[in-house]
Amino acid sequence: MAKRGDWVKVHSIVLKAEERSSHLPEDTKKVPLEMWINGFLAEDAKLGENVEITTLSGRMVKGTLVEVNPRYTHDFGEPIPELLRIGPSLKRILEED
């Protein structure tokens, strides 16, 4: 259950596959144009319900409630073995002098 005023993410379909631009590659043509926007929830609601939010620019936007307090999911990744030896090898060359 999300409360009025919670920071949430809503989802909606902007264009169905058949409504999309005609100049698209085949794979893109088959799927809809989807959208996600974050904002403050207008009224208490459950996940999956149609809700209204106020965005950071002050707009009222409608959509399906998909996440409460949406997480930033990107990270720093893992150490990359293919990169790890670059530093030491360059430093060794510089130290030769």
């Binding site: 409504e19 631009s21 590659p25 996600w36 926007i37 990169l83 510089l94």
Partner: protein
Amino acid sequence: MYEDVMKRRGEIVKRAVGVDYSKFEIEGVAFDYEKMMKEAAYSLDEIREIQFETQVGNTPLVELKNLTKLVRKYSPSGKGARIFLKDEAANPAGSFKDRRASVSVYHAKKKGYKGVIAATSGNYGAAVASQAAKRGLRCIVVQETFDSHHVGQPEILEKGRACEAYGAEVVQLTVGPELFYYTLKLLDETGYFDASLYTPFGIAGIETLGYEVAMQMKEREGKFPDVVLVTHAGGGNVTGTARGLKLAGANETKVVGVSVDLRGLHMASDRDFNRKSFTTGHTGFGIPFATFPDRVDVPRNAARALRYLDRYVLVTQGEVFFTTEALAQVEGMMRGPAGNTSLTAALAMAREMDEDQIIVVQETEYTGAGKLPSAQLTFAKKMGVVVKNGDPIEEDKPGEVIAIPESIEQVAVIEYPIEKLRKSYFKEIVKIYGKREYSDVEMKFMSEDTHTTFEDVKANLKEVLELW
């Protein structure tokens, strides 16, 4: 719905940009580019003032002595130019894009707009959001972020986070050029200013970068740089920088555009979208925008790279990751990978140049989660791209293989002949305008637009029309 909005495109953009482009039209292909730049934008002095107010510009120019030393290990005797780097990450939102945003946002505020909208998945979003915060305007950034499985490109997710951190509303879409449709809808709904990347404001804002590079180098070494390397995507960076160099009097300085080679990947493909480890500064923008600049969201693009490019080279994704790692490890500067595209070319080109010559790489960008080589390569592996050590040119295959060099010696550039870009330019003109006859006025414009002679234009058009 889609068609309705697209039909009203001209009217919406005119209100949202506030520039009457018809004033600059001459006939057919031709328009008065210099008049547009002069009348629609601001002078260099005004822009320096605008940027000073919001902390943009005057970034440090640093000499990369260790990288130069390493390059010389692999250069013939007497070769190995000095490499300098303009640390544009020192701008408030972390990239040279702050220069573009500063002028647009200033102008929007002056003209009484309540907010600004930018359609961008790049650093430009954070730049507009940051400048809007400084000038007290509302801001919406529209991004192409996810594929149809809701998998987000890490670099773009990070830029979305940054926009939100500066207080902007972020609209995240799946892959597709209809991003511009939704942007038009938002411009229409809100009445906000269209902070397009391609207005005279967006380009004039970069002139200070070229100007600073020239003046800082002159002050420091008593001469202008021999070569300035510019990462090339939509053409704004090349155009603005070259114009700024000329304003400083650096007329002999060669301007070289550099893009990451992503040839073979389709920019609007749902599948290809997340098989790119670079979301900007690549050939998917660099080639089409150089050959037909007016393919943009405003009637006439102020970014016209062919007018200014002396040479165009490509580098591979693996080479840029190598260079990013090297910059951190031997120069102590952790900067974003995409912003190191032109630095990568510098490592190769310095070997061809004399020791007393000077190369300036004119940008860096901030880095962090999502943008680091570790983040991008972890993601690439997850998407099925093979990441290996190897020959970065021979083994590279965009979307399939990223080959990371093990030595500076392996870092090389792929020449993309300017002549080839010019030929495509004429093909595009004939395709778009769909006619066989061109007036002298139109041909004079094309000669300026491609930096060739009137006779070259005639010959090129003749060649294209013979096959048409």
